[in-house]
Amino acid sequence: MTTRTRETTRLKPHWSSIFENGTGARLYPYLMVMPAILIAIGVVVYPVVSGITSAFYDVTLRTLNSGDMPFVGMRNFERVFADPNFMRASLNTVIWVVLNVVAQLGLGLALALLLHRIVPGIGFFRSGILVPWVVPSVVAVLTWRWMYDPSVGIVNEMLVRLGVINDYHPWLGDTATALYAVTVESIWKGTPFVMLLLLAALQLVPKSILEAASMDGASGWRMLWHVILPQIRVSFAIAAVLTFILTVNNFNAIWLMTEGGPLNSSEILFTLAYKYGFQRFDLGRASAVATMLFVGLVIATTIYLKLIQAKEAD
């Protein structure tokens, strides 16, 4: 394959030679980036800017309909801060994000290490472990809801049979367990994607290193830490950022299982924004929450990436 390429290029000039020098060379990267950027400007920038702008206007069903939305400055934010649920939701968001990100990255890495080797039946296992991600989210969440059900839930039945609990427990109805029960579903659903990313990255690691690492049972942990992780750190960082974003914006899991309840015990900022926006039709306040969430995400991600870059520069 490589040899053939070499032949053709030597025989006749390729159309792509115009990118080799001069203006072509300077334009080359821009041309490659351009289509993606254009689409991003069209379909990402406008909606996001408009979403942020709404946070400073009084946008309700009524004002939207009349087309006259008064500018209210920071009032939407003040109203959000005055809501006692906001603090609760912020705290829950932190718990939700930390648990999800740590568990998904940890499990995802473990699964990727398990699955990267070619052993008989690996295709079967790889496909099987991808299942949670492939199941349509709405159906997956409703299935989990049934599995947790205090009357017919299989989770309860199995835990009772295993002797872990004595009686069926309303996992989603107990203020102490609701958030964690949803978290388990979310981890189940999110891990395969992390696994896939890390699995793809592991393939780029020189085989000899992995072989050595997998063989040396005693110092396996050290090999993992000193050899494998540094090799896939870029993908790991990407997986961390993406899991972070996707978790904060994961809506279906909490909404369809608990709607943030009982008694707001599983309310996160996203569900709060949804309630403001689409149950109370107060888009201004919803956008205020969304904007804070957005700013928080931007800051956290930027700091994280800067830290990584700084580390790499060392």
Binding site: Y46, V49, S50, T53, S54, Y57, V59, T60, L61, R62, L64, N65, S66, G67, M69, F71, Y148, D149, P150, S151, V152, Y168, P170, L172, G173, D174, T175, T258, E259, G261, P262, L263, N264, K275, F278, Q279, R280, F281, L283
Partner: protein, 408 residues
Amino acid sequence: MRNLLKSGAMAAAIMAGMGTAPGWADNLVLWVNAPLASGPDAPLYAELKKFETETGNKVEVQAVPHMEMERNLFVAMSGGAGPDVMALDIAWVAGLADAGLLMDITEQSAPLAAQYQPGPLAGGRYQGKQYALPLYTNNAALIVNDKMLAQAGIDKAPATWEELRAATVAMTNAEKGTYGISFGSNRMGAFQLYPFIWQAGGEIIDDAGKSHVADPEAIAAVDFLAKLYTQDKAMPESVLTAGNWDEVHAPFIQERAGMVISGDWAISAIKKNAPNLAFSIHPLPQGKKAATVIGGYNLAVRQGTASPKAAFQLVEWLTGERSIELMGKYQRLSATVAATTPEAIAKLPKEMQPFMAQAGAGHPRPVVASWSEMHGVFGNMWDAVIRGKPAAEALAEANAEVENLLAR
């Protein structure tokens, strides 16, 4: 940047303007809740065919699941678009009317008003103006497992609060794992408890717009129900989680709960999932008086539709006496007066008859702009009470929130 949203809204307004320009034909877009148009053979289509041939208008049906209806209406109507005629849960009318999104049909509907049952009709009225007419109605009744009741040594279905409590306790058996009555959590539970407030002689919001949420009657009702769980342990644990009707029905279907408060939709669910369960349907037990809660769907016309006349024609067509037959095909109840005559009731399937028979005791939920939100307040109140908060305290807090919403 400041003007971004404005320009968006302007674009929307222009679009809406284009919508109002006289079109070339009366093409109506009708949004209905998904079950009414569940397939190409749904009875609705045949009925619309008749409407089309008779009036010359065309109707395009777009089925929207209940879960997404409110959000989709909101998004579409904020974007200056939306259907010409829409089916609305009766609890949504006030909010949309308040925002000016529904066409005032007071005048057109005045001559027709007498043909509808007063309760459902009132559900389409907001601040003295009619915005919607009832498509079908339903209400909550007491569904009883006959065998469990007999085994508990009780020979007739409870008709008063005392009898309800006695039966509930009698059917509860910790050893066998049976309970008296299955109840929902949050909004489901709130829907089930409203009738008890009215039965106690209380009110939620009076006609003058004053909140009575913390009145002694309401406290008595909530306290009565909550104690069935907190004190008597006579409700299954699903009262903590059940967020849809299937989960409310589940203990009843499993014969772990002897009674459930539900509507006509429970009939097919029980028959399908437990074909051998013998059950009977009774009016809700009386407190100081008989009362039940009205649910169902209305039809409304969007403010700014291009064909207001044809749109109202369609509303009239579907909600009128034709609805007796049409809704019958869906096992639902027409909201016309003609459907409540003894002859009409006799024609209904046997299990449906108790619902129609008690329609007269039906109360609509308060028609106020922020009802959806208040319903959520009640849901949270119920969640708190069954977790041990005293009813008086929980209702006082709920009352403060409701008053806040009313003041807005």
